[in-house]
Symmetry: C2
Subunit: 342 residues, 2 copies
Amino acid sequence: MINHRSPEFAALLTRTLEGVKRALYTQNDVLFFAASGTGGLEATLVNLLAPGDYVLGVTIGAFGNRFLEIAERFGVQVQRLEYAWGDPADPTDIDRALAANPALKAVLVTHNETSTGVANDLQAIAAVVKRHNRLLAVDAISSAGALPIEVDAWGIDVLVCGSQKAWMTPPGLAWVVVSARAWEAVKANPAPRFYWDFAETKKYQDRGQTPATPAVSNFYALDTALSLMEKEGMERIFARHRRMGALTRRAIKDMGLELLATSPRHYSDTVTAVKIPASHDFKQVSARLQSEFGVVVAGGQGPLAGKILRIGHLGYVTLHDVKHCLNAIGAVLGRPLPFTLR
Amino acid sequence: MINHRSPEFAALLTRTLEGVKRALYTQNDVLFFAASGTGGLEATLVNLLAPGDYVLGVTIGAFGNRFLEIAERFGVQVQRLEYAWGDPADPTDIDRALAANPALKAVLVTHNETSTGVANDLQAIAAVVKRHNRLLAVDAISSAGALPIEVDAWGIDVLVCGSQKAWMTPPGLAWVVVSARAWEAVKANPAPRFYWDFAETKKYQDRGQTPATPAVSNFYALDTALSLMEKEGMERIFARHRRMGALTRRAIKDMGLELLATSPRHYSDTVTAVKIPASHDFKQVSARLQSEFGVVVAGGQGPLAGKILRIGHLGYVTLHDVKHCLNAIGAVLGRPLPFTLR
């Protein structure tokens, strides 16, 4: 460890800040917190919104629900726009809801819904929200750094990221990207906060520190990860994820299995949710994948428990890893691929 | 990294939980958060206390002030019991304050004040608070695991710990130790919380998980650190810190320098604050210590900026390290020790 009130840490903080900004195409402020991604969501809520504020809460799955649950917990009035799990959000619904209710101060939305393998069309949603001149806060925990996001060009007011997905860093470091317009709302917001306080964090970061002790080892890892990302290049990273997503979906369909996601234009390129055939039990499938092939898949959350398996293909993952995983799934489900993927 | 919703992580969580409990002589619940120690303080406040609750806030320095500032930020009414920086808290003052004001629901206190090198007599303070039948919440971030604390025998209701001090683990993992009595207050408390929610954390931990993604790599480190601590034994760890503290203070006095701490019975065995002679400038002293001897010392906080230097002697530190540090300070301040410490 190094002294977190030293020039060495200040240099590390600056380097990681700048790297994150480049990856997200933004000049906005990036604020770090020692926390997991959920902490970043809570930080966004208590800085941007006060009890009694009205927001449009768009949810297409478990993580969308979590974002709205946090908002409600802190007294924010959430008008919910909910979709069936597997469906994407429709920007025209958001357009209508904002037009109908001028009291809606902000829109909360998940970019990539990890629980269903669906990626919302964030650019289209942002365009609608900007047209209505409202604030847009985005959970980008499982997308940022893997799917294209142009924070400044699209006009995203708060973007929430977590270290452990596309950023290839151990969990425990979250950050938010805050627009000038969001800052106005934050400064006018009397809601209490201390650990999550954006203004205090900014004040310290501007002198190369954080208010509380930072997660130093996560910064080391992020620094290394950002170097890898610079070397690969963002366009190539996006292309790799597109290829991994496409390969996964093609193989799943070739096995005669069904995706949970309903809209091909909104398939997630970072996670794929696959319906488990009635003939198989998730726990057994998962145990065999791990013991026989060293492959770890996730199950379904909430209403989807036992009904789907989820394949993560983001971050420190190659096409080779994805192929190994798909061959393993084919073998365990008794639906070997017509050819072994290489 | 491992899947944090796996049996492997559940085993790691259980092992670290049990290790922490043994080190703190407690059977109370230990709840982990991906956060720095300040996050643990905030978690304690929003779970234990609601806006409008009255507490006695005991502060002997910068970190005591921080604890009370968080309380006030969340609407808690703080009756302050403040001492000059360098002085310890006097349990008889706490006794009087509690006797005079039955509305005081809890006492907030820092065990070991990192900003001044003073350790409060936590056992005596706890005895007073218990006699008055109030709740006791303790910031033990820079003491727990290095100075003796018997959570259950002393009757501490919430004890806050951070990974990066005596626990020899990178920063980013905080935990709180919660008594049955504290749980009653927590369950009756309507104050909003999500990320810090004790009950939700307990519910997940009981099945080997955490609500949000845990700081997995910090758990690995804590697991290893706890093994080292088990091997050394708590009594020997406490004795090592007593020796390091005593050696530091003796050498400082031998150099003709003055301690900030005023009460020998309350000298901290984890950190020593030394007054800088008027002839020297902290920044220059600190720079020379680092460049010539590879020794990193901390400066003074708030009103003590530039006036003291602080020597940390806790956690992964040996008598040899402390001697090297003291010889370096003697050399840089032009007050070499009468004999070179070996």
